[in-house]
């Protein structure tokens, strides 16, 4: 996982491996709150134009990280850089960032128009220019007709979009979003997720957002930083983080996975029990003789496979069926007592029932070595 973190303290302005400019950089940032370490020696580089999400459970330090960048919280040690300038001591109002708050924090005493105009007025933009730019921003978020209304007269989704317009209208260097969709109900949240990404893409802004929702992080971002206990466990593209979790925490936090334990009997073979072994191609050779814990995602498990190459076939007994609409989740207990979770698309091609014997096929390249 250390290899995936950005190198500590690259020279200022140095291009990242992908060759793009770094806009926001945290160097060795630590923040304590009365003896509790919320953020622990964090290094992070955010590239120009990317959408980066900080993903983790509550209390993992993701919101504190966002607050460090925004300037609402000062690091106990470490430095914050924006465009290669040290802004650690600079107050929030001089950082030129845009923030979308979880509660939206729209000013209740101002109209939607004046809320959006707020940042422009602070920048002493002319009245005509304000009218033009607020109009554009409201049109961008489909609130062109709502300028005269008060925030509390808007629906949750509209408030969310108004907050977005307010933070985008003065084209901030970076947009920070704190759980931007968490306050919306599920259906609206999924709609807004798509809309939010389209808006951010069309503006081409660098954005960092905090979320505890993995689907949100995976679908919205170019890179995901999975956080745990004040540190980044893994930083990578959504597919990379999902398919090749660097740590057990990441494997557990992102997506469901089953675990089986065994002993490596060859660099590519794990023995689960007497006469039962699995071929494992995990990208790196196993150390022979060591105890190995393997993880596998439910969608990679093939339940009741058709006849074919007999690789990694395991017999087991169905212990639970959970119907989810588009698919059914199958829990299978294999020899040795471990449970493996699999998914069967609905309508199911195989007939399943609790207690029935079933065969599973576990593709050798589907394993996560934890």
């Amino acid at each position: 996982m250390t290899a995936l973190r950005s190198p500590a303290g690259p020279p200022s302005g140095a291009p990242t491996p992908s060759g793009t400019r770094v806009v926001v950089e945290l160097r060795g940032c630590t923040r304590d709150f009365g003896g509790v370490r919320a953020v622990d020696g964090l290094d992070l580089s955010v590239r120009e134009g990317e959408l980066l999400s900080l993903l983790g459970p509550s209390g993992c330090g993701k919101t504190t990280t966002l607050n460090l960048i925004a300037g609402f919280v000062a690091p106990t040690t470490g430095r914050v850089l924006i465009d290669d300038q040290d802004v650690t001591a600079r107050p929030p109002h001089e950082r030129g960032l845009g923030v979308v708050f979880q509660s939206y924090a729209l000013f209740p005493h101002l109209s939607v128009f004046e809320n959006v105009a707020f940042g422009l007025r602070e920048r002493r933009v002319s009245e005509a220019e304000i009218r033009r730019r607020v109009g554009e921003a409201l049109a961008l978020v489909r609130l062109g007709e709502e300028g005269a209304r008060r925030p509390r007269q808007l629906s949750g989704g509209m408030q969310q979009r108004a907050a977005l317009a307010r933070a985008l209208v003065y084209t901030p260097r970076v947009l920070l979003l704190d759980e931007p969709l968490a306050a919306l109900d599920r259906k609206l949240r999924e709609e807004m997720r798509t809309e939010l990404r389209e808006i951010l893409r069309s503006v081409g802004i660098t954005a960092i957002f905090v979320t505890h929702d993995q689907a949100e992080a995976l679908s919205l971002s170019d890179r995901v930083a999975v956080m745990n206990r004040g540190r980044i466990e893994q930083l990578g593209a959504p597919r990379e983080v999902y398919e090749r979790p660097a740590t057990r925490f990441v494997a557990d936090f992102i997506g469901a996975s089953s675990r089986v334990r065994g002993r490596a009997v060859a660099t590519d073979r794990v023995e689960l029990g007497p006469g039962q072994s699995l071929e494992v191609r995990a990208g790196r050779p196993l150390s022979v003789g060591a105890t190995v814990e393997l993880g596998i995602r439910p969608e990679r498990v093939v339940v009741a496979p058709p006849d074919g190459p007999r690789v990694n076939r395991i017999a087991g007994r169905v212990t639970r069926l959970t119907y989810l609409g588009a698919q059914t989740e199958v829990t299978v207990e294999i020899a040795g007592g471990a449970s493996v979770l699999g998914l069967v698309p609905e309508p199911s091609p195989v007939s399943l029932a609790v207690g029935r014997e079933v065969t599973l096929a576990l593709p050798p390249d589907a394993f996560l070595v934890l």
Binding site: A70, G71, F72, P91, P92, H93, G96, L97, G98, V99, F101, S103, A105, L106, F107, P108, H109, F118, G119, E122, R123, R166, A167, Y170, L176
Partner: protein, 259 residues
């Protein structure tokens, strides 16, 4: 039914003294009898024309305006500090600032009198204003504090993120959102200060005395309904204030009630 009757009786009981005073003020005769023998405005003319009342009214205006303004300023700062600053012994400060003077008015008055004498300020309105600030402050702090507590701190963070300096944030976000609380505070301050009597009696001179003190002095010396007329004017002024408050802010907002 019994409940409603009890409420009606209670309201009658509470408003009866006021009704009596207003009724007596229209009495054409020189004695305060109830019910009045007729209808006349002569005591109103007398009250408004009495020079000592005119002087006291000016004093009242000055003292109440100054004390309310000072208390509003100081009280707002105190309320913000109590809620926002990490004060050591916050509870002690809060208790001290929030409890209306628990010592008897006579004792407080005596204290202010001794201090005023020591400072040679017996003939000045300054002592009167200082005393009123002290008396009015708890009401101000309390109503502003409630507003401060209800203020979402993320709104101020939002303003800062949008580029507003702390002062601009205060002007454009904090202050407008505190307005109902500030107005309630001002209303309380004005009503309490305008009606304050006991402490004022100790620190007033003939030249600086405020209306309630002048009215008391008048009652001690004369028994005609002039005082009832003046009291009625007082009541009318208070009602007008409350009406204005309701008109522009809504009483619910001013008294921080949920509708």
């Amino acid at each position: 039914m019994i409940g409603r009757a009890a409420v009606v009786l209670l309201v009658l009981f509470m408003t009866l003294p006021t009704v009596v005073v207003v009724a007596v003020s229209f009495n054409p005769t020189a004695i305060m009898s109830f019910p009045p023998a007729g209808l006349s405005l002569r005591w109103y003319a007398n009250a408004l024309g009495y020079p000592q009342f005119q002087r006291a009214a000016v004093n009242s205006l000055i003292v109440t305006a100054a004390a309310s303004a000072i208390a509003l300023l100081v009280g707002t700062a105190a309320a913000l500090a109590l809620e926002r600053a990490r004060l050591r012994g916050r509870h002690v400060w809060a208790t001290a600032l929030l409890s209306p003077l628990v010592v008897p008015g006579v004792a407080a008055g005596l204290g202010f009198l001794i201090l005023a004498a020591g400072l040679g300020l017996l003939r000045s309105r300054l002592v009167l204003i200082a005393a009123h600030v002290a008396l009015v402050l708890p009401f101000v702090v309390r109503s502003v504090w409630v507003s401060v507590k209800n203020l979402d701190p993320t709104l101020e963070r939002a303003a800062a993120s949008l580029g507003a300096t702390p002062w601009r944030t205060f002007r454009r976000v904090t202050l407008p959102l505190l307005r109902p609380g500030l107005f309630a505070a001002l209303l309380f301050a004005v009503i309490v200060s305008a009606n304050e009597f006991v402490v004022s009696l100790f620190v007033s001179s003939r030249l600086t005395e405020i209306l309630p003190v002048a009215m008391f002095t008048y009652v001690v010396n004369y028994t005609d309904p002039t005082i009832a007329a003046l009291s009625s004017l007082f009541i009318a002024a208070t009602l007008a204030l409350v009406w204005i408050a309701d008109r522009f802010f809504g009483l619910a907002a001013v008294f921080l009630l949920d509708r």
